[in-house]
Amino acid sequence: MPVAVHVALLNGYAPRWTDALVNGIADAVSGPVEAFPVDLDTIMAFAPGRRQYHATLLLAALLRHRREPTAKILGLTSMDLFIPVLTFVFGQSQLDGPGAIVSTHRLRSEYYGLPPDEGLLLDRAIKEAVHELGHAFGLVHCPEADCVMHASTYVEEVDLKSSEFCTRCARSVEEPGRR
């Protein structure tokens, strides 16, 4: 049975391209996709020394806002995320779990001293959203360079891959038993 995806727009973040993001995600997964706003207490996740937000804590808080027990919830934020051992993360998810979170903070061209590029930001946001949802559907990193599940630790790598699952990963998302 197709699994629904809920995009949680965190703490008032609602970019103009939200509908396009929803459509982009819908192209990759088989279930219905919808977006709605969610407010989280972010202070508990803020690390003053790093001026970043602890992705794991935010994700734990997000899961309390799930509307359907079978749906996957994806938090979308512009806050800079980290996990304790790494300098930053584009996003985080629970492997084969109910939720994931993605930040656009380091997907923006301005972060790298380049002019704003909304089209490119949308493209990157779709890829990272589908990538983290892929983990929530139980997928691990894929060796296929073009597959959206290919590991990307810097933004140029995000640009190099496509926003689609390769045939093998797509089959695993549709039929989880095949993994």
Binding site: L86, V140, T153
Partner: protein, 446 residues
């Protein structure tokens, strides 16, 4: 592909948790440990491909844990993680064999590259080990059979010289197994992971031998269409076995002496010097000392090669080894021919021991191979052996013409094969037409 395993050792729950998730998403099987004791317990139940180890932990410190981890599994790649960068501890960790050392928080790209490189290095090390084992298996020389005091002395000398890098001269009659001894020296030496390259100087004309040993450049002579490496170059790192060194011409002796002294030479038609690090083992059935005194072999080359000498005794001087060798060959050919193992009847044993074996071990091997082909019973009988032993204990009289021996032999083979010319020709190693001609010439009736 097998799932790679990683062990994360860190006292902070949030670090363990986040790294666990990060590596699980990368397809790893992840285990975590919050202190040194638990890490060691996990290692003992391992193995792991990678160990990510925090240096600062309560109780057992990271360096001690690292030491124990290395003892338990030297193959695991250890990556040191620490919140406090200190050159001293980094140096100590690396000295103890850590793959690398990184400070928290880590750039995800750096961690990803580090883990990828550690895995690659581990895979290469494992591949290297597998290939070494394969080479070792392929280069294992055939066993040298013999319990006689003379052969034991030879085996002891092989063990002694194998460890050195000295040149060895193996002397012995034809068929005594000189090449087997050279291969055994190579197989027991530190050069065993490199090739042993054999050249028979006696069977190659001088001009060809030069190109065979030194190689040639393209166009060095008519027909030299490509550059070709010589045997000396191919033996780089390993052993060059030069058989029948007593047959090398005076000019080649000079060239060889120069290569042995400098380990450098030029390919034919080339100006560039090439170097090769090889160990020379040579063999001869000739009396080199006599050749030196007659001026047929250079004295300086003689002294250069005669560092260690191994004298392989002829088979007639070690009769106590004959039956053991015979049984070894029976087993070898039974396996090769897919035939049941045969015993050797006492009368046949008597023939084998009393025969003088002018062709040495090679002749014995051929005799047993033939007996295994033609014999039918469960034991090898004297009639299966192509040997004539006088009842008085000597060999057959030497004063016979080759033609007489050939006639006798053809008659015996035909008799054993019930006059079947096709099978007889096959056994004798000649074609049917040749055998018919010989039958006609010797007046043999089938």
């Amino acid at each position: 592909m097998t799932t790679r395993k990683i062990l994360i050792v860190d006292d902070e729950l949030s670090v363990r948790g986040s790294l666990e998730e990060w590596f699980r998403e990368d397809g790893f099987h992840v285990e975590t440990a919050e202190d040194g004791n638990r890490a060691i317990a996990k290692m003992e139940a391992g193995p792991y491909d990678i160990v990510l180890l925090d240096l600062k932990m309560p109780g057992m410190d990271g360096i001690t844990v690292q030491r124990r981890v290395r003892e338990i599994d030297p193959g695991a790649a250890i990556i040191i993680l620490t919140a406090y960068a200190s050159v001293e501890t980094a140096v100590e960790a690396l000295k103890l064999g850590a793959f690398d050392y990184i400070t928290k928080p880590v750039d995800p790209d750096d961690l990803s590259n580090l883990v990828r490189n550690a895995l690659r290095q581990k895979e290469l090390a494992e591949e290297n080990l597998r290939l070494k084992e394969k080479v070792s298996e392929l280069s294992r020389s055939a066993p040298i059979i013999g319990e006689s005091p003379k052969m034991r002395r030879v085996l002891d000398t092989i063990r002694t010289v194998a460890e050195t890098d000295s040149t060895v001269v193996i002397r012995g009659e034809s068929g005594t197994g000189k090449e087997l001894i050279a291969r055994s020296i190579h197989a027991q030496s530190k050069r065993r992971f490199f090739p042993i390259v054999a050249v028979n100087a006696g069977s190659i004309p001088e001009t060809l031998l030069e190109s065979e040993l030194f190689g040639h450049e393209k166009g060095a002579f008519t027909g030299a269409q490509y550059r070709r490496k010589g045997k000396i170059e191919l033996a780089h790192g390993g052993t060059l076995f030069l058989d029948e060194i007593g047959d090398v011409t005076p000019k080649m002796q000079i060239d060889l002496l120069r290569v042995l002294e400098t380990k450098r030479f030029s390919r034919l038609g080339g100006n560039q010097e090439v170097s090769s690090d090889f160990r020379l083992v040579c063999a001869t059935h000739k009396n080199l000392e006599q050749m030196v005194s007659e001026g047929a072999f250079r004295e300086d080359l003689y002294y250069r090669i005669n560092v260690f000498g191994i004298e392989v005794p002829p088979l007639r001087e070690r009769p106590e080894d004959i039956l053991e060798l015979a049984r070894f060959f029976v087993e070898k050919y039974a396996r090769a021919m897919g035939k049941p193992l045969r015993s050797i009847a006492p009368a046949a044993e008597d023939v084998l021991v009393r025969y003088r074996w002018p062709g040495n071990v090679r002749e014995l091997e051929n005799a047993i191979e033939r007996a295994m082909v033609i014999g039918q019973g469960s034991a090898i009988e004297p009639g299966d052996l192509p040997l004539h032993v006088e009842s008085g204990g000597g060999t057959e009289p030497a004063a016979r013409s080759l033609a007489a021996v050939e006639k006798d032999h053809i008659e015996r083979v035909l008799q054993e094969l019930d006059g079947n010319v096709t099978r007889a020709a096959k056994t004798l190693g000649i074609d049917r037409a040749t055998l018919y001609n010989k039958l006609k010439r010797y007046g043999i009736r089938r």
